[in-house]
């Protein structure tokens, strides 16, 4: 699975950066940037929980 980010939906709350600073950052404009999209096998639920915290639903998991 891979993390997919939609900057068009992002509203810069920063929940993703708080949850996994090694995976997410914010651009100069304050919009989400995925540093490493690969989700290791067995880690899917952890990332679903992280993605679920995104208030603007800008993040998803893709096969």
């Amino acid at each position: 699975m891979r993390i997919s980010a939609d900057q068009g939906r992002c509203l810069g709350a920063g929940q993703c950066v708080l949850s996994a600073p090694d995976r997410f950052d914010q651009s100069e404009l304050g919009l989400v940037e995925v540093l490493d999209p690969e989700v290791p096998e067995g880690d899917e639920q952890r990332f679903r929980d992280i993605l679920d915290l995104c208030p603007s639903q800008a993040l998803s998991l893709e096969a």
Partner: protein, 393 residues
């Protein structure tokens, strides 16, 4: 016909939701101060459902269907900024501000916040007990920080803190809130005009240069945005710091756990946010018919999402009434949810962590100088917390 329960209801303990809300779960009809009947959404899943769907549940404060939860919300209809707008209008305005509120930018403010907190505690220690931590500590920390961030002179703090209190307090009358909004608008309009002549280096100056000068915002629009950032930037966090002190002191085992492992500070702050729910409720109105927990919501119906009870929903938080500094749950809705989730949340976290962490480290014998039951609680329908916080050490 039976009489509907009222919303809002006053808290009898400053860190617990009003007990009367327990009967509403998860969605039921309540009556507002003006007699209007609206839906109260007290469940966590239902709260998220409403807050994640701005197309169905509008935030448009100007619209007559938007419910006034207290008289001051009628005056707030004259203040137009992104908190009271729907996408795409909301999105465009919020995006102008995002770069100033990223995790990185707010973390860069931490050394300054630490210096500020240290200085205030030096003064408190020098004066000796009893200290009232509301005016001496909880209020100046966020007030000075938001002034520096926006480029508002802190010298004017007595004025804007007083007027801000009037626009976030549940018992404020229609006339008082109209006057307070008008005074804040006039003050900020004058400040922005002054900045147009003599630019400074705050966020307001950036917005003047990047937006007002290029036609992205009118001066009047910037005044209304500045009003929101200034008021929401200090009054809520001040309440959270003061009530955070009370909550930790009233849960001595949890405070001891935090003291023995300061690395718990971020999760302790997150748990305080969930547990205290400083913003008691958030209003919306339905733009279309919708199903909500088996109820048929009709277009035009008012809705109030009750943050305080959504955060205590046992389906979402095991043992929800327990305050546990190591809970580690971030899915509370204290900053709201959806596109309107608080833009300043990471600044609030930083301020709470530094203020509370430093206070309890520097004053290990800290205790209330008055019984919890005798602390004056903020009125229903506004920012929650305590008006005074006398402590000794």
């Amino acid at each position: 016909m039976s009489v509907l329960p009222e919303y809002p209801q006053a808290r009898s303990c400053p860190f617990h939701p009003a007990s009367g809300y327990a009967d509403y779960a998860p969605v039921s009809k309540v009556r507002l101060y003006n007699g209007r009947e609206v839906w109260a959404v007290t469940g966590h899943a239902e709260a998220r459902q409403v807050l994640l769907d701005p197309a169905t549940y509008s935030s448009d404060r100007v619209h007559p269907h938007y419910p006034a939860l207290a008289p001051r919300f009628e005056s707030a209809r004259k203040v137009r900024n992104f908190i009271g707008m729907d996408p795409p209008e909301h999105t465009a305005q919020r995006r102008m501000l995002l770069s100033s509120f990223t995790v990185k930018r707010t973390n860069a403010l931490r050394p300054r916040i630490q210096t500020l907190v240290d200085g205030l505690l030096d003064e408190i220690e020098a004066k000796g007990p009893v200290a009232d931590l509301v005016p001496d500590f909880a209020l100046p920390v966020p007030s000075i920080v938001i002034c520096e961030l926006l480029g508002v002179p802190y010298a004017d703090h007595a004025f804007f803190e007083h007027q801000s209190r009037r626009v976030v307090t549940g018992s404020t009358t229609l006339e008082e809130s109209a006057d307070a909004f008008a005074q804040l608008k006039a003050y900020l309009d004058e400040l922005i005009q002054r900045k147009q002549r003599e630019p400074g280096d705050g966020l307001l100056d950036t917005l003047i240069a990047e937006q007002v000068a290029t036609g992205g915002l009118t001066r009047a629009e910037l005044v209304d945005i500045a009003l929101l950032l200034l008021v929401a930037g200090h009054e809520t966090t001040a309440s959270a710091i003061a009530l955070g002190v009370v909550t930790l002191l009233e849960h001595p085992h949890q405070l001891a756990a935090l003291r023995s492992d300061p690395r718990l500070l971020p999760t302790a702050v997150e748990e305080l946010l969930r547990f205290m729910a400083i913003a008691d409720g958030i209003a919306r109105f339905a733009t279309a018919d919708a199903d909500l927990a088996g109820h048929r919501v009709r277009a035009g119906d008012g809705v109030v999402v009750v943050i305080a009870t959504a955060n205590r929903d046992g389906e979402a938080f095991p043992s929800p009434a327990a305050f546990a500094v190591d809970r580690g749950a971030r899915h509370h809705v204290s900053f709201g949810h959806g596109v309107h989730q608080c833009i300043g949340q990471n600044l609030a976290r930083a301020e709470m962590e530094i203020a509370l962490g430093t206070l309890f480290r520097r004053l290990p014998g800290l205790r209330l100088a008055r019984d919890l039951a005798d602390l004056p609680i903020k009125e229903a329908g506004g920012v929650q917390g305590v008006w005074e916080l006398p402590v000794t050490w």
